[in-house]
Amino acid sequence: MKQLNISDYPQQDLKERIVNFFMKFGTLLALGLIIVFFSLTNDQFLTYGNITDILRSISIVTLVAIGVTFSMIVGGFDLSVGSTVSLATVASGALLVWHSQELLVVLIVPLVLGALIGLINAFIVVKIRIPDLIGTLAVMYIINGVHLTYTKGYSIYGNMPMPDGSGTAPGIFIPAFQFIGQGRLFNIPFPVILMVVIVALVHLFLNYTRAGRLFYMTGGNKEAARLSGVPVNRYRTYAYVISGVFAALAGIVLAARIGTGQVSAGDPLLMDGVAAALIGYSVFGAGKPNVIGTFVGAIIIGILLNGLTMMNVPYYAQDIIKGGILVGALALTYFRKKE
């Protein structure tokens, strides 16, 4: 049989090539331009301190976004990650301050809670078959309500007065816990190391293991995957659990970073996480959720926020830019999708 080769079409016209180039590298190009722009307008921008600042600030968003990426890979969506972050933040705070627990407990309990929320999401979406957007929206409300009810609406900090008026809380945010958010290894912030290691591991997992492939296959065409013997509902369940666990991990890092159990702290992370994952579609023209892309997406958002803040753009106006970037990245992905 005749093999068709790309070289059979040598005169691929210029317009086509330009479009292809932008589909592949448009997002990275935008990232480069943003960096150049900020470093020209502000000489503090490209300093070691600021770069580590940026990376540290995006580490939490990246963790949330990785979870979102998993749910998107299986063709789902998880709106509850923001409230899961809040719950995990509050839970670790409460364990430290109200119950004076050890580091291990403070780490494990929120992660288990995150996994539980993932299981609830999976039950609602996979088993009951409520559409993902609506089902996880409902869970988002529930989790929000749960964590506010638990703290009676108070944020948690060391030796705070107990909400029920029974004196002062016994515990504090222990240094070992705070290290997760504030510590440094080899002069690199610990959360940055955590983020980079996790991004690398997840990338390897998704691209080089059987399980990773099956996540993608499930999202690619659920019915075809099922007929090929893939247990698709099991993988969809795994994806929601992983999403919940990553959100919980983000919550732990957030609590350690700010040193309090702030209520509703995770709310803004939902949209940033989703935006990072969506921007990731366009990186290298992948056209599908992928963790490297998600990481780049988080970097773009982080740099924008940092740079705009340095330029004294108020935080409420920064959303306009974020939205614009998202439209641009999605345009690169979807512009030529209708074939």
């Binding site: 293991t209 059987r210 492939r213 296959m217 690619g220 099922r226 007929l227 013997g229 893939v230």
Partner: protein, 511 residues
């Protein structure tokens, strides 16, 4: 003067010339069939005529008037209507039949005046009557059968006072009876002087309904024949442009051991029970008209739907509650809806081919990509899959090549039983012969084959034993040597005597 006269029509997409100086014409009251293997340029020609694409060069004349379409609405205004193959793209699923039929009154530009429901129903009924069809006017489109939807599209085309109607493989989803009904309507349209372009792969139908046929190959109109003055063989050879190796049935030796058996399988959708056996190395065909419950049965056997019954593979009882169980029990399934459930079109050829046997490529959980790639290369060579590389996305392959992937992916897996559901649907004759060769090859290796189809001539070519299904039940069984197309057709329609009666009534009612 011809109704439609196409001269020297040329079209290219980038560097690829898809139409090369095509001449084509349709007379009033004529059905002109358009034949050609996939990729011959039929669709492009039709899309230019219906205004979907713009022509590059050449002339199109309607009644001697030169036309140039830049949009489908311009083509419609000049009296060209098309009954598309994907009927759902032309209809609004959550609206009732009456509104879909009279859509032009709702959105009809200057003619859109308020109109009473009574009048609308009246118009809708008239339009349906013109195509000899009765469909409850309040029925929602989503509850209509494929043939009903097609009739609604046709009724709309007729109502728009089209002079030329294009049919794109209209009978593919239709049962025998529905096909006859459609042909009656076409005959009537002929008497009204409407010219029709009829795209089909089915030679028998074409000789029945068409006056002339144009054969296309590689973007050229290579021959025009008058129906009846040419043999099917010759037409098929012209289509292929090479000698056709017909996969004629030759008797194969079968050991007689039972490889696969189902007992009292209750199929949920049909509510009927099915029992059958497949021998090692045996190709068992299941013949049935559209709507006989073949796909439902095939799905039930593979555990896609929740069916109850007993399965035996090599004499061992197995429990199959999901496709996963079926795969583990050594079953393979090539479903009818290829793009929907057979392959992952957004994934690469390589990823599709390795999917069912992914475990063998990743013993410790890590995928051996080199091995995967190598195996894909071998399979591409072996199955004759035309693709730029194993990493090409499946959506860029033609239907026939997608089907080869849909079959090929099971060859890595240790399967004993292969279930095919309409495997030649929408693929050209070249690919079809490749598929047949593949199936025969599998049987020669001792695999058991179950082959569900409504194309009876295929079973005569390939099946060792043929079961006939009607209304969800197996009504007849015969060895290949005993089978004829006539006997199969009779048995397949046998469970449905009403249909024959109704057809006679309809024929009698015609003027």
């Amino acid at each position: 003067m011809s109704l439609l006269q196409v001269q020297q029509l040329t079209k290219s997409f980038g560097p690829v010339d898809v139409l090369k100086q095509v001449d084509f014409s349709v007379e009033p009251g004529e059905v002109h069939a358009l034949l050609g293997v996939n990729g011959a340029g039929k669709s492009t020609l039709v899309k230019i005529l219906s205004g979907d694409y713009e022509k590059d060069d050449g002339s199109i004349q309607i009644n001697g008037e030169e036309v140039h379409f830049t949009s489908p609405s311009e083509a419609q205004a000049k009296g060209i209507a098309i009954v598309v193959q994907e009927v759902d793209t032309g209809l609004i699923p959550n609206l009732p039949v009456v509104e879909n039929l009279t859509l032009d009154l709702t959105v009809g530009g200057k003619n859109s005046r308020p109109i009473s429901w009574k009048k609308r129903r009246h118009i809708a009924r008239e339009r349906l009557a013109k195509v000899n069809t009765h469909i409850p006017l309040n029925q929602l489109i989503e509850d209509c059968t494929l043939s009903q939807k097609q009739m609604i599209l046709l009724a709309r085309a007729v109502a728009s006072e089209a002079k030329i109607i294009i049919f794109d493989e209209p009978t593919a989803p239709l049962s025998d009876h529905e096909t006859k009904q459609l042909f009656q309507v076409i005959e009537e349209l002929k008497t009204q002087g409407i010219g029709m372009i009829y795209i089909s792969h089915r030679m028998q139908e074409i000789s029945q309904i068409a006056e002339r046929m144009t054969v296309m190959r590689d973007g050229k109109a290579v021959a025009v024949y008058e129906t009846g003055k040419v043999s099917s063989e010759e037409v098929i050879q012209t289509m292929l442009g090479k000698q056709l190796h017909k996969a004629d049935y030759h008797h194969r030796k079968i050991s007689g051991e039972t490889m696969f058996e189902i007992e009292h399988l209750s199929v949920p959708e049909t509510g009927k029970q099915v029992s059958l056996t497949v021998g090692a190395g045996e190709i068992v065909g299941v013949a049935g008209l559209v709507g006989a419950g073949k796909s439902e049965t095939a799905n039930a056997i593979f555990g896609v739907t929740n069916a109850k019954g007993k399965w035996f593979v090599n004499g061992h009882s197995v429990s199959i509650k999901s496709p996963r169980h079926a795969v583990n029990a050594g079953l393979s399934f090539i479903p009818e809806e290829r793009r929907k459930s057979g392959v992952l079109i957004d994934s690469s050829v390589q990823e599709n081919l390795s999917l069912p046997a992914l475990k063998s490529f990743s013993p410790a959980g890590w995928i051996n990509r080199k091995k995967e790639h190598q195996s894909a290369l071998e399979q591409i060579e072996e199955l004759g899959i035309v693709t730029s590389s194993p990493k090409a996305l499946l959506k860029h392959l033609s239907g026939g090549n997608q089907q080869k992937v849909s079959i090929g992916k099971w060859l890595n897996h240790d399967s004993n039983v292969f279930i095919f559901d309409e495997p030649t649907k929408g693929i050209d004759i070249g690919a079809k012969n490749d598929v047949f060769r593949l199936i025969t090859h599998l049987a020669d290796q001792g695999k058991g084959i179950l082959y569900f189809t409504s194309e009876f001539d295929e079973l005569l070519q390939i099946a060792d034993r043929i079961l006939v299904m009607a209304d969800g039940e197996i009504t007849d069984e015969m060895q290949n040597q005993e089978a004829t197309e006539a006997r199969l057709m009779t048995a397949a329609a046998g469970g449905n005597a009403v249909e024959t009666v109704e057809y006679q009534r309809l024929s009698a009612a015609r003027p």
